[in-house]
């Protein structure tokens, strides 16, 4: 945190006449206004959602009955929810591992000196700029068993059967995770790119003089510098994967069967297909608690000052 050092001249500014608002007054006015707005549009709905989760609503009779935490118990006893939670965990694990690897790889390439680097970076950004609905379109064309690229690639090699196996429901979660990785990796790569640009060039030069090869330079200079960013990338990707809805909804709608029905999709079905508002709210609230835990981890990571020794550690 270096914001304090940005306004050391505050007394000098404040001396300028009493008519104008002080720095603190100005800051507090803006903060109170913005947080009041956020409370209204985010806090109140969340509170309402919590209230819904404590009531059994009947959509037809329009009645609400207070049931305490019964719905939470019901949610956690529902095998469909347990299945969805396990599937979510698998999905998140694949997404986080995949997007970490892809983001790091892409950023290492984009950090190199090259002609037209701006253009290359722009191209690498494209999958992220595309909506998840269009990402789903793109992957449905790639993976379609009859005319997709994967089939087109494998059929001439005599592997048409392999393609059928890979595109079966056993692999569905893997493919949607791959689509997610494709979509979200550019974001992580820009986190890494920002970190890579702060590594002093001198370190590499000195290491070369000392005879360190490219592999050991990467291991002893690049990787230690990326430790902090890696933690943040892992948390951000986890958050994104846990929140994930659009891509799966438009690519598989949770299918085939329920093979890609992760928690947010199940909540969606509870609410909008079965009108179980209370149950859906309870499940959504559990998801909210999970995301709060992730936010806490994220917050502690960034509040913790980057350790001084980090950059030079082995």
């Amino acid at each position: 945190m270096n914001t304090a050092s940005l306004t050391p001249a505050r007394p000098a500014l404040a001396r300028r006449g009493g008519k104008e608002m002080s720095d603190l007054g100005f800051a507090m006015t803006v903060i109170v206004a913005v947080y009041a707005l956020n409370t209204l549009i985010i806090g109140v709905p969340l509170g309402y959602s919590f209230w819904l989760s404590l009531h059994d609503t009947n959509a037809i009779l329009r009645t609400e009955e207070f049931v305490g935490t019964d719905l939470y118990g019901e949610v956690l006893a529902d095998p469909a929810v347990i299945d969805a939670i396990w599937r979510s965990l698998g999905f998140v694990a694949m997404c986080v591992a995949g997007s970490f690897a892809a983001a790091l790889g892409i950023s290492l390439v984009l950090n190199e000196e090259m002609p037209l680097r701006g253009l290359v970076r722009g191209l690498a950004l494209l999958p992220w700029a595309m909506s998840q609905v269009v990402t789903a379109t793109v992957f449905s064309f790639l993976l379609n068993p009859s005319f997709g690229a994967l089939t087109g690639l494998l059929a001439p090699l005599g592997l048409a059967n392999a393609a059928t196996v890979w595109l079966s429901s056993d692999w569905a979660l893997f493919w949607v995770a791959l689509a997610f990785v494709w979509h979200v990796a550019p974001l992580g790569s820009f986190f890494y790119l920002a970190a890579l640009q702060t590594i002093p060039r001198d370190l590499y030069r000195a290491a070369r003089v000392d005879g360190a090869g490219p592999v050991s330079r990467f291991r002893h200079i690049t990787l230690p510098h990326l430790k902090h960013t890696t933690l943040i990338v892992l948390v951000v990707m986890t958050v994104e994967a846990v929140r994930q809805f659009d891509l799966l909804f438009s690519l598989t709608r949770g299918g085939p069967g329920t093979s890609t029905q992760i928690l947010p999709l199940l909540i969606f079905r509870y609410n909008f297909e079965f009108s179980k508002y209370g149950l859906a709210s309870a499940a959504a609230f559990l998801l909210t608690v999970l995301s709060l835990l992730l936010a806490t981890a994220y917050f502690m990571l960034i509040r913790k000052k980057r350790p001084q020794g980090d950059s030079h550690a082995k």
Binding site: I106, Q132, V133, S250
Partner: protein, 299 residues
């Protein structure tokens, strides 16, 4: 400089490795898009025969049908009209949401990035927590609210919902951006007798314009690309946005014979504005440092 160094240490292979890496990144990023783009210029029957071979030659017909300029379209007239309406609706909600969200977040980001005040830590935590909320958790209460007060199926309702996503995200991002701008110029302006608003208008805003522009684009993408809120709050109504309309063309939708060429063309058209913006403003977006605003300039 790097080339000299490479020669000194005999790393002549390096440019080749970088070249291979660029090729790989380009293939990874572009091939999936290329595949659908190719299909979008093909006839329905040719797509089913296999996009790789493309027996039927290329045609603009899919695009003409999306734009309502083709006479060969009969069954899908309703769906293509929905795409065009979706385009307009998406612009009508995403642009104002981005404008309002960016304006509010600029103020918030400036204050958070420049000043110390009581309870700043907890307030930052609240901001971050609202940024990580799962959208589905907000959708359910908004859905019930809007149904009750008659805002379901309206762009205004969707606009409010997008602000819930845009304000925390951009306040966070712009906080880091403002903290990275030099405070000395502002201080000098105040010393020279500018009032706070004069300083903000004539010094701070011009200086921060690249970051604010990038934030605006990110906010626009949030609204333009959203599906979940759009499909629940506007799906099937006259306010239906582009993502929801696109999904209506998807082969996945039950009980509906899909037109793959039309679907591909509509998807590519829908992706055009975000892709163009990302290419044009790549440098601004990259420089925003979305990840780590609080510690980004402690090095």
């Amino acid at each position: 400089m790097r080339n000299d160094a490479a020669q000194v240490t005999g790393e002549g292979w390096r440019p080749w490795l970088v070249g291979a890496g660029v090729a790989l990144v380009a293939f990874w990023s572009l091939f999936p898009i290329y595949w659908t783009l190719k299909a979008s210029f093909m006839d329905e029957s040719a797509i089913i025969m296999g996009v790789a071979h493309n027996a039927g030659g290329y045609t603009f017909d899919n695009y003409l049908r999306v734009l309502g300029l083709s006479s060969s379209d009969s069954i899908f007239g309703g769906q293509t009209k929905a795409i065009m309406t979706g385009f307009v609706n998406s612009a009508l909600v995403a642009l104002p949401a981005a404008a309002a969200g960016t304006a509010i977040a600029t103020l918030a980001g400036y204050v958070l990035g420049r000043f110390e005040f009581p309870f700043k830590g907890p307030l930052l935590y609240v901001l971050l927590a609202s940024r990580t909320l799962p959208p589905i958790a907000l959708l359910i209460p908004y859905y019930v609210f809007f149904a009750a007060i008659g805002l379901a199926g309206s762009l205004f309702g969707l606009w409010i919902v997008y602000l819930t996503a845009v304000i925390p995200l951009l306040s966070w991002v712009l906080m880091g951006y403002f903290a990275s701008l030099p405070v000395e110029i502002e201080r000098a302006a105040r010393m020279d007798g500018c009032t706070r608003w004069q300083m903000l208008r004539h010094v701070t805003l011009p200086m921060a314009l690249p970051g604010i522009a990038a934030a605006f684009i990110i906010a626009f993408l949030v609204g333009w690309n959203d599906l979940l809120f759009a499909i629940v709050l506007t799906g099937g109504t006259s306010a239906q946005t582009l993502s929801a309309s696109l999904l209506g063309l998807s082969p996945l939708m039950p009980g509906f014979r899909a037109d793959l060429g039309l679907f591909a063309a509509a998807s590519m058209l829908a992706a055009l504005p975000p892709l163009a913006l990302a290419m044009l403003f790549q440098r601004f977006i990259t420089n925003l440092n979305i990840v780590d605003p609080v510690t980004s300039n402690t090095d």
